[in-house]
């Protein structure tokens, strides 16, 4: 419990300072950040309460996209890592392409994906998977390659097949690395979902944010951002918890 005290205290201090800066007029008059640019935490809290069902409904839509998209990224990311690890040829052929895939500007790709897949959940999943598979693949691959060669030699003398080595030595070695990649991916998945919604959607927090931005509804815009941040933190924490349960030897 104690480990959460420090970050919670920092968060409370920052929010408190922010609230003070807005209510004393420091933000508006001295720093020229009026309330239609930066609302106060109390305004955001009020909006979170008043519009809680609207925010919750849209948050659920976006959360579904994130979970499914992250799932796709996980499957693809791990498959790539294992495939590129097992075959040197595949690795030399595809690793540069995998890196290049991250240079594609999402803003340009999102509308194209919408034209291909329509306005449903498809393009959102594609964008999230595109952004998120990369850290999973790179980290897991590094983990697989960090296996102790002597351990592999030893396993071979214990009649281990290639599959047994992968299963009993390489995969457990790579597991902490895979979790690192997954934690990075889940934090970025939230951004991917928003970009996907901006390209074409009828619901979701990204959709709501766009409407609120055009309508100059700054408090609810920031309220949506708050909910998205909370989602990212929660998912990250869940993964960290899972890691502690699964990786019991570190």
């Amino acid at each position: 419990m104690r480990r959460y005290l420090l970050p919670a205290a920092v968060l409370v201090a920052l929010v408190g300072a922010w609230q003070l800066a807005t209510s004393t007029g420091l933000l508006a008059n001295v720093l020229n950040l009026q309330d239609f640019l930066v609302p106060s935490p109390s305004e955001i809290a009020k909006t979170l309460w008043e519009d809680h069902s609207l925010l919750a409904d849209n948050a659920w839509v976006t959360l579904k996209e994130i979970l499914l998209g992250f799932g796709c990224a996980l499957v693809a990311g791990l498959a790539f890592a294992v495939g590129l690890h097992l075959s040197e040829t595949l690795r030399r052929a595809f690793y540069p392409l995998i890196v290049a895939s991250q240079t594609i500007p999402i803003i340009a790709v999102a509308p194209i994906l919408v034209v291909w897949f329509g306005f449903g959940i498809g393009p959102k999943l594609a964008i999230i998977a595109l952004i998120c598979f990369f850290p999973i693949t790179v980290n897991t691959l590094d983990g697989l390659r960090s296996v102790d060669p002597d351990a592999v030699k030893m396993m071979r003398t214990l009649d281990a097949s290639r599959w047994a080595i992968l299963r009993r030595v390489e995969s457990p070695t790579a597991l902490p690395y895979a979790f690192s990649g997954a934690k990075i991916a889940v934090a970025v998945a939230v951004i991917g979902a928003v970009f996907g919604e901006w390209a074409g959607s009828s619901s979701g927090l990204g959709y709501l944010m766009q409407l609120d931005n055009a309508a100059l509804n700054t408090p609810r815009l920031w309220a949506s951002v708050t909910v998205l941040s909370a989602m990212a933190i929660l998912l990250f924490a869940l993964l960290a918890l899972l890691e502690r349960k699964v990786v019991t030897w570190r």
Partner: protein, 338 residues
């Protein structure tokens, strides 16, 4: 304890740095030198702005003693906020957005019209098979995610006895053209008659382009110049000079469409010359022009009153301001300073 202090210091430094970066600067008034003046466009440079770029190119702003910097935003909702916060002298915005901003308490006022009629249109292509409004039933309509335009759509559908649930609306943000070209949407609301309308025509897509004031929405000024209301008391002269130069620039563009197109192309290298020339041709007639009866930038207060009423009736605003509260005609060329 040490770590806590380090964290707090880091957070404070970060906060301060962000704040400093956001500090606005007030323009200086230099004697004998042209006065710096910032204009924020509504979007990237496009045919709606030919008058501005002609004035810039032909030196009309300099003649008026202004050193004009023209900025384009990536987010069309930002310019009005910049003006309200004093970070820009003038912005191009939209009549509905100005009314929403005033509702929120932003310190802004309209000082002149750039385009004094709606450009926002309902557009469908021949291939969609839609012939009348009623054919929209069951179709997918792409929107730009702007709530007042969604209200436009409700009004338009009501004319054809359709409810919002009779159609599928999708918010595609700035991606209206890909949505309709790709066939995912059969119609779109939010494109401009003089930009997307012309674009689709030149692509031989045979579009039906209907500005919203022909579909039951009262007329309004699509593009307006907006300034910070509180500065108009003491510091309105630069804006008056700007608008006077705009009148000259727009008149020059009317006389020389090719030159005006060229001035625009020099500012935005992403524009296709042939398409831009066609769009400029369609834009010049809708730009505000000085005439014998009306000054450049004229805003019709009766029409404004009617549109304000429509906004209130559709729940977009709660209050009912009078036109003099939201606009001023005192800075238009030829008007007597009040």
């Amino acid at each position: 304890m040490k770590r806590t202090i380090k964290l707090l210091i880091a957070a404070t430094v970060l906060f301060a740095a962000l704040a400093l970066a956001a500090c606005g600067e007030k323009p200086e008034n230099l004697n004998g030198q042209p006065q710096p003046f910032s204009l924020t466009l509504d979007f990237y440079p496009n045919p709606d702005h030919v008058g501005i770029y002609e004035a810039q190119k032909l030196g009309y702003f300099r003649d008026a003693g202004l050193d004009v910097t023209i900025n384009s935003p990536t987010d069309p909702a930002a310019p009005i906020k910049e003006v309200a916060a004093g970070r820009s002298d003038l912005a191009i915005s939209y009549e509905p957005e100005l009314l929403l901003a005033r509702e929120q308490g932003l310190d802004v006022k309209a000082v002149g019209a750039l385009v004094d009629r709606p450009l926002t249109s309902l557009i469908w292509l021949k291939k969609s098979g839609i012939k009348r409004l009623g054919d929209l039933r069951g179709k997918t309509i792409a929107t730009a995610g702007i709530p007042y335009q969604n209200a436009f759509l409700e009004t338009i559908l009501a004319r054809a006895n359709l409810k919002p649930s009779d159609v599928k609306t999708v918010n595609v943000g700035l991606n209206l053209l890909p949505a309709i070209l790709g066939g995912r949407a059969q119609a779109m609301l939010g494109g401009f008659s003089n930009v997307e309308g012309i674009d689709l025509k030149l692509r031989h897509k045979d579009p039906t382009v209907t500005p919203v004031d022909q579909l039951g929405i009262p007329t309004y000024d699509e593009l307006i110049f907006v300034a910070q209301a509180s500065r108009l008391k003491d510091d309105s002269e630069p804006i008056r000079l700007f608008l006077a130069a705009m009148a000259r620039g727009t008149a020059a563009a009317e006389k020389d469409p090719k030159g005006a197109t060229q001035a625009l192309l020099e500012q935005n290298h992403n524009l296709d010359p042939k398409l831009t020339a066609a769009e400029v041709k369609a834009t010049l007639p809708v730009l505000s022009q000085a005439s014998l009866k009306r000054p450049y930038g004229y805003m019709n207060q009766a029409e404004w009153q009617q549109f304000i009423g429509w906004m209130r009736d559709h729940g977009l605003i709660l209050s009912l301001p009078t036109p003099p509260q939201v606009l001023t005609e005192e800075l238009l060329p030829g008007s007597i300073p009040g």
